[in-house]
């Protein structure tokens, strides 16, 4: 207890120390900057940053005068480029970097701001409500995202079940099994497949897959979670194959030779040396594929029925229900307003959070594997 008290008492001192350190470092930097940069260049930097800042503020308040600071920026930049090219270039590259970061921050900020009304109106019900009505403008507006979250989960699971095993098999084949000639054809082929637009997949799914399940398996409607998930899985395949194959290829040849020289067969080498060594990359590929499947919009929008509800049992993937977070935004976003629109933004927040979690998760997996393997090699 006394120890804790002591720590608490220490805290302000430590805080102050860290602040002074920060201030000292900044002062040092400022001193260096001033002594190494010409006065004119400093003025130019000031003018550039001021004009960019004013531009941003004016744009934010939607002023028609935004064009003025833009012109000022261009003039200062043009003059600076002519007079102090190195300094101007440095400032410009710094601005572009800041812009990149601020785009993500703006996305997060605007998603949150616009989804605030629905949360204020419904509270956590927006994420958890499972009673009827689920989605209506009556009764003052009830918009529950739960059915869409279930839909996203179901299609993502189906897509992953399709894409992960086949994708990894494909990566193993291309990187370890295929003879050189076959690889030279198959690899760019698969890369090319990754470029086919998702709306095209959706069109094929709509005209062929939906029809097939409707006629042969007598599904209650044209369009089911299963068909959509299957199509999304096929669509995510090339991504998984390409990323996982890169990871397997990056395993040093010397380790593979070592295993072969021990008398293990190529398959044993692949199974017990190459795949474990490249596991981080392979799982990153799978997670990337899952993220793509989750955020996939067009194929699902075109193929699903847009009926909101819960299949019973929940794994009845052939039911007449069909709506995911992405499809509801794409389908209704064009002509929604007020609370309805706010609910769609809330859906965007949920989607964004889930995909971010996957992205961070894959980076964490990679980092952990790196630690485990004992650093650089």
């Amino acid at each position: 207890m006394t120890q804790l008290l002591g720590q608490t008492r220490e805290l302000p001192t430590r805080l102050r120390a860290s602040v002074t350190q920060r201030v000292e470092a900044t002062r040092q930097w400022a001193h260096n900057y001033r002594s190494r940069t010409q006065d004119g260049a400093i003025a130019m930097h000031g003018a550039i940053f001021a004009s960019v800042f004013v531009t941003f503020v004016l744009f934010l308040v939607a002023s028609a005068w935004t064009v003025l600071p833009v012109l000022a920026f261009l003039v200062v930049m043009g003059f600076g480029w002519y007079r102090y090219q190195a300094e101007a270039a440095k400032a410009l590259t710094f601005l572009t970097t800041v812009a990149t970061v601020s785009i993500l921050s703006l996305i997060i900020a605007f998603l949150l701001i616009r989804s605030e009304p629905i949360v204020a109106h419904m509270g956590l019900d927006v994420l958890t409500r499972i009673e009827q009505p689920l989605w209506t403008s009556n009764q003052g507006g009830v918009y529950s995202l739960t059915p869409m979250m279930v839909g996203t989960a179901v299609t993502t699971v189906i897509a992953t079940l399709v894409a992960a095993p086949i994708g990894i098999a494909g990566a193993v084949f291309v990187s370890e099994i295929a003879p050189r000639r076959v690889r030279e054809v198959v690899k760019p082929g698969i890369e090319l497949m990754a470029g086919i637009p998702s709306i095209t997949y959706g069109f094929i799914g709509l005209t062929i897959l939906n029809q097939y399940f409707y006629e042969e398996f007598r599904t209650p409607t044209l369009g089911t979670y299963f068909a959509a998930g299957l199509m999304i899985g096929i669509m995510a395949l090339p991504t998984v194959v390409t990323v996982a194959e890169d990871a397997l290829n990056a395993v040093p040849e010397s380790i593979k030779s070592g295993a072969l020289a021990m008398g293990s067969t190529p398959w044993q080498t692949t199974k017990s040396v190459t795949i474990p060594a490249g596991l981080s990359g392979v799982s990153a590929g799978v997670l990337l594929g899952v993220g793509r499947a989750m955020g996939e919009t067009m194929a699902a929008t075109v193929m699903l029925t847009h009926t909101k509800g819960f299949p019973s049992p929940v794994f009845d993937v052939f039911s007449n229900y069909g709506e995911t977070l992405t499809t509801v935004i794409a389908f209704e976003g064009g002509n929604a307003s007020g609370l309805h629109m706010s609910a769609l933004f809330a859906g965007g927040v949920v989607l964004f959070a889930m995909v971010m979690m996957l992205s961070v998760g894959s980076q964490y997996v990679e980092w952990r594997m790196h630690q485990k393997l004992g650093g650089e090699r």
Partner: protein, 301 residues
């Protein structure tokens, strides 16, 4: 070529000519016969290797005696590593390589249909230039080979059925590590990742890993070239010790190293030809070929 043939040939005129110190290069190149007592472990005859249109080895014939250290030296690009990789058929992995000729291990041809590559590489182990331990624990590195060959089973099934080989595994790991003079350094961290070891330790681990499958022959491709002098000395000591039980063939570009550790030396020169092969002492002190002498004394390109 087996050594009995070699014994039949000492009266060839070429051999007599060269003993007189004649400087005729064409005749001197015939001086690759090496007569030794005992059996040849590996017998190579008329081995040609082509990479595409380029000939990497020209008609190499060479017998390696049992339980000894044979050094292969020569300038870079002379084909000595290619030759080494022919001995356990690692060159099979190079798609453009074409190999003619014969290599026999204990009088059994290894370049013929139906050769079990797994079995071949169990008998002829290999250590590479860069240490290449698997990114696994030290223990798993050693037991990798026996496990893959079905001689050790410590899997879940074996444990359930009571066929667990944990004791054999521990025993094998200890013996292999002791033999490679690494046991004392890693005894208490067998479950640590092998990539955490120093370069020299990693290389000895790779040697221990090769020993764990109980080979007859160990091929080493410049095993110390990536290491510091102290680690190199340890590896050299180890090689000399290993020669008591194993047939060691070692490629090196370091002539002092070859002189220190090997019993016999084969000198390859540019273009993939074997110029001279004989007792290490004789090669370094009194080479028959002018070109070998030039190479050893540093006059060669």
């Amino acid at each position: 070529m087996s050594n009995t043939e070699a014994v039949h040939e000492p009266s060839e005129p070429a051999q007599q000519l060269t003993t007189t110190g004649e400087s005729d290069e064409r005749v001197r190149e015939e001086w690759t016969e090496y007569d030794f007592a005992g059996d040849a472990k590996l017998a190579v005859e008329d081995l040609d290797v082509y990479y595409g249109d380029e000939q990497a080895l020209q008609s190499i014939s060479l017998d390696v005696p049992e339980e000894s250290v044979t050094a292969l030296i020569g300038p870079s690009g002379c084909g000595k590593s290619t030759f080494l990789r022919c001995l356990n058929r690692m060159n099979d992995r190079v798609k453009s390589a074409r190999i003619d000729g014969s290599v026999q291990l204990d009088d059994e041809e290894i370049y013929t249909d139906g050769v079990n590559l797994v079995e071949l590489r169990k008998r002829i182990g290999m250590v590479f230039q860069e240490p290449n331990p698997f990114p696994k624990s030290i223990r798993d590195n050693i037991s990798y080979g026996p496990r893959k060959h079905g001689d050790l089973d410590t899997g879940l099934l074996a444990r359930v059925l009571g066929r667990d080989d944990r004791e054999q595994e521990a025993d094998l790991v200890e013996r292999a590590l002791r033999r490679a003079a690494l046991w004392d350094e890693v005894e208490d961290r067998l479950d640590d990742n092998a990539l955490g070891l120093s370069g020299g330790q990693q290389q000895r681990l790779c040697i221990a890993r090769a020993l764990a499958v109980d080979p007859d022959v160990i091929l080493m491709d410049e095993p110390a070239s990536a290491l510091d002098p102290i680690a190199t000395a340890k590896i050299e000591d180890l090689i000399e010790e290993l020669a008591e039980d194993y047939t060691v063939v070692v490629v090196t570009h370091n002539m002092q190293q070859a002189a220190r550790i090997s019993d016999q030396t084969a000198v390859f020169l540019t273009g993939g030809e074997l110029v001279e092969y004989g007792d290490t002492d004789q090669i370094f002190e009194n080479p028959e070929s002018q070109r070998v002498e030039d190479y050893i004394t540093g006059k060669f390109g």
